[in-house]
């Protein structure tokens, strides 16, 4: 007789802890073939609100951490992901209906992509910043600065690689994040949250909410304590990215539009090596002057 498994409860990841939704609700998550996988927490707008509070609280510390320190923390996340590779492969396979080979390739790519971004922490400033040779006796330097709290809609289809591709570039530069996971494929995101929680990532730097993004997204788009919003994951939902962008204009959030085919949001090809674009989307540039004189 085979062993009876201990089934897992899937919760949200907010402020470094794993609470249930304050609404007490959950929803059924199925695998790619429609078979029941688990009940996941159904995040509400209040959960999103709490996540923003946590992200804001964590941001000054994370933003002030040295680039070296952030790089170390993020590289450690990759180490933990690698150690949980089997689990990730299994979950991606079930969520996306991939063959074991493809699922493994996707997980490998996700870990490698995380490493790629971790390696940028102490370099993007050297590439994106620099000395400006102004026409006067002034020292003048432009330096990138984290924008603050970033809300993001993770891709609907690519449950781990796409998620990593959206999340890592946000936090590598010192922003903190509130991420709405894929609605139908949230389980790899929750496992990622567990990897984050065991990797020296300070609580609140990354917050993950499962559920229907249509509920929380409009509230994040209008939230005045959110500095930027990444609309990537609109593709494949009923949300209109234009509406969210319009809402975000209330406090002039920096908006990263989803990939578009004409005016329709589409899911990106995550196998393409990224550019610095996603890091740049969530950076401000600060220029400082100082006279030079005896």
């Amino acid at each position: 007789m085979s062993r009876v498994e201990v089934k897992k409860t899937y919760k949200l990841y907010i402020g470094g802890a794993f609470p249930r939704s304050e609404s007490g609700r959950s929803y059924e998550v199925s695998d790619a073939k429609g078979r029941f996988l688990a009940n996941a927490a159904k995040g509400s707008r209040k959960d999103a609100r709490d996540a923003v509070v946590a992200a804001r609280k964590a941001q000054p510390g994370w933003g002030r951490a040295t680039a070296y320190n952030r790089g170390q923390v993020l590289y450690r996340v990759a180490e933990v992901m690698e150690s949980r590779k089997g689990q990730f492969v299994e979950e991606v396979r079930a969520a996306e209906g991939l063959t074991p080979t493809r699922a493994t390739a996707a997980v490998d790519a996700a870990i490698d992509r995380w490493v790629w971004y971790a390696g940028w922490s102490d370099k993007y400033a050297q590439v994106l910043g620099g000395l400006n040779p102004v026409a006067g006796p002034y020292f003048n330097i432009s330096a990138p600065d984290a924008t603050g709290v970033v809300a993001a809609l993770a891709p609907q289809e690519s449950s781990l690689l796409g998620l990593v591709s959206v999340l890592a570039p946000i936090v590598v530069s010192g922003n903190t994040a509130v991420v709405l996971s894929s609605k139908d494929r949230p389980i790899p995101a929750i496992t990622l949250a567990e990897a984050l929680a065991t990797s020296d990532v300070p609580g609140g730097v990354i917050n993950l909410i499962t559920g229907d993004p249509a509920e929380a997204a409009p509230w994040l788009a209008t939230h005045r304590d959110v500095n930027a919003i990444d609309l990537t994951g609109v593709a494949g939902t009923d949300l209109a990215w234009g509406d969210l962008e319009r809402a975000a204009a209330d406090n002039l959030k920096r908006v990263r539009r989803p990939a578009l085919d004409g005016l329709s949001a589409i899911e990106e090809d995550w196998s393409v090596t990224p550019t610095l674009g996603r890091i740049e989307s969530f950076l401000e540039t600060k220029t400082v002057w100082h006279p030079k004189g005896r």
Partner: protein, 481 residues
């Protein structure tokens, strides 16, 4: 106790597994050299630590061939991302074995355990981390179109920061896709040989890193070898010039990081207590065995007396002694030869009329030691203001105006570093503009970071190490060359 005496606080040697003799690390394995052997000693006790192989030209040839094969068959075909992963592994293992490296470095070099533990080893690991991340991002580094490696790089490093200099050399070389033949200094080979073990633990493909121990002849063999595409050298200006001459007219390229006689400039509005600390860090850190040491103290004349008094009082709290004691501030001079050089130059300073003062602290019986020493009444024309002493000796000169400070600071064939101490921001920036030095520290001194380029003007060498700029020496760009 009627007073606060610090009981001995020795770091244990047990973490280090010293072997009686070491071979060469070629093609991923330790092999016997075909040359003679020499001993490496602890400069604090003069005990013999191990026997080291002196790599012959034949050995060097083997190493270069191994590096070439590894380059052609493996390393140049590997993606940047994968190269980066090896470097990340190396960085991690250095962190894991940090204590072992720190103790070994202190034993072999004579520097205080406090420094190898808190400075040398952590920054070395950080260098590997930093460069690991560049391996797959070279097209962003503004190096030029199509950046690609040279091939086989020959690297010769000095004895003052053995592990750190190894990291400064190997990390960027590997990140950019080159393979390496490296020779550590003859008085400090042990951490390089331990690093070879780390390469094995990281499963680094054989031949990517080769360590050949030896002295001048081995170094010469590396420089002269036709299979080496690029040389990276840190050491004395004299040898640097010899290398520059040797490669002239050949396809070989070189970067040189040589000596210095840095001016540490203190204005009357300096934050005085921190400035005194800056003087200490500038010239007594690492026993003054620092190319960028603040060996010339340029003090504004109006505060010269006060600075001298505060400096001498502060020097009394420096503890000179057993490098393995965690409370030691100033360790042993690296070798008898170096001690002789320091002694000769200090005697010259006295002979040329400068006033010599030292802390008078007790020194151990065995080993090579020199007390922290301050010369006052020094003029620009004195030998002790012009020549690199490379010991815990600071020469104090004065100046009246910023202009004069700049002129005196620049009045040297060297140009590695400089220090500026003042509360006035504009003056810092104006001085920085005028000073002909590759690294300028304002209100701090001797700070190093993998992201921050390091290197000199004039006879302090050419090329930079660290940062985005440090990558450029290790790549060729553009069309065929």
């Amino acid at each position: 106790m009627s007073t606060f005496e610090y009981a001995p606080a020795p770091e244990s040697r047990a973490v280090v597994n010293l072997q009686p003799s070491y071979g060469l690390f070629i093609n991923g394995e330790f092999v016997e050299g075909t040359g003679s052997s020499f001993k490496t000693i602890s400069p604090a006790t003069e005990e013999v630590l191990a026997e080291i192989s002196e790599a012959s030209p034949a050995d060097v040839d083997l190493a270069v061939k191994a590096a070439r094969t590894a380059y052609t068959r493996v390393w140049s075909r590997m993606s940047g991302a994968d190269r980066g992963k090896y470097l990340y592994r190396i960085a991690r293992i250095l962190q894991e074995r940090a204590r072992e490296f720190a103790v070994l470095e202190t034993l072999d070099n004579g520097k205080p355990i406090k420094e190898s533990r808190d400075v040398d080893v952590p920054i070395a690991a950080a260098h590997f981390f930093y460069h690991a991340g560049w391996a797959d991002k070279l097209e962003y580094a503004a190096l030029g179109p199509n950046p690609r490696p040279h091939g086989v790089v020959g690297q010769v490093i000095p004895w003052n920061f053995p592990m750190l200099m190894l990291a400064w050399k190997i990390a960027p070389a590997l990140a950019t896709g080159n393979t390496v033949v490296l020779k550590p200094a003859e008085t400090t080979p042990l951490t390089a040989l331990l690093f070879a073990e780390v390469c094995q633990q990281a499963d680094l493909p054989p031949g990517v890193v080769n360590i050949v121990t030896g002295a001048g002849t081995t170094g010469q063999a590396i420089v002269d070898h036709p299979g080496v595409d690029k040389i990276a050298f840190t050491g004395s200006t004299g040898v640097g010039k010899a290398i520059a001459r040797a490669i002239a007219g050949t396809p070989k390229k070189a970067t040189l990081e040589l000596g210095g006689k840095a001016a540490n400039i203190i204005f009357d509005d300096a934050p005085i207590d921190q400035a005194v600390e800056g003087i200490i860090n500038g010239i007594f850190f690492n026993q003054g065995h620092v190319c960028c040491a603040g060996s010339r103290l340029l003090v504004q004349e109006s505060i010269a007396e006060e600075v001298e008094a505060r400096l001498k009082r502060r020097l009394q709290t420096l503890r000179v002694g057993d490098p393995l004691d965690k409370n030691t501030d100033v360790g042993a001079i690296n070798s008898g030869a170096q001690l002789a050089r320091i002694t000769e130059l200090v005697a010259a300073g006295v002979a040329e009329g400068a006033e010599r003062w030292d802390t008078g602290c007790p020194l151990p019986e065995k080993g090579f030691w020199f007390r922290p020493t301050v010369f006052t009444g020094v003029s620009q024309t004195h030998r002790i203001a012009q020549e690199e002493i490379f010991g815990p000796v600071v020469s104090m000169l004065t100046f009246r105006t910023p202009q004069e400070a700049v002129a005196k600071a620049n009045n040297t064939p060297y140009g590695l570093s400089a220090g500026i101490w003042t509360e006035k921001g504009s003056r810092i920036l104006w001085m920085a503009d005028q000073l002909r030095a590759g690294v300028i520290w304002a209100n701090t001194f001797n700070r190093f970071d993998p992201t921050s380029p390091f290197g000199g003007y004039k006879e302090s060498g050419y090329g930079r190490e660290g940062g985005r700029h440090g990558l450029s020496a290790y790549v060729v760009t553009g069309g065929p060359q």
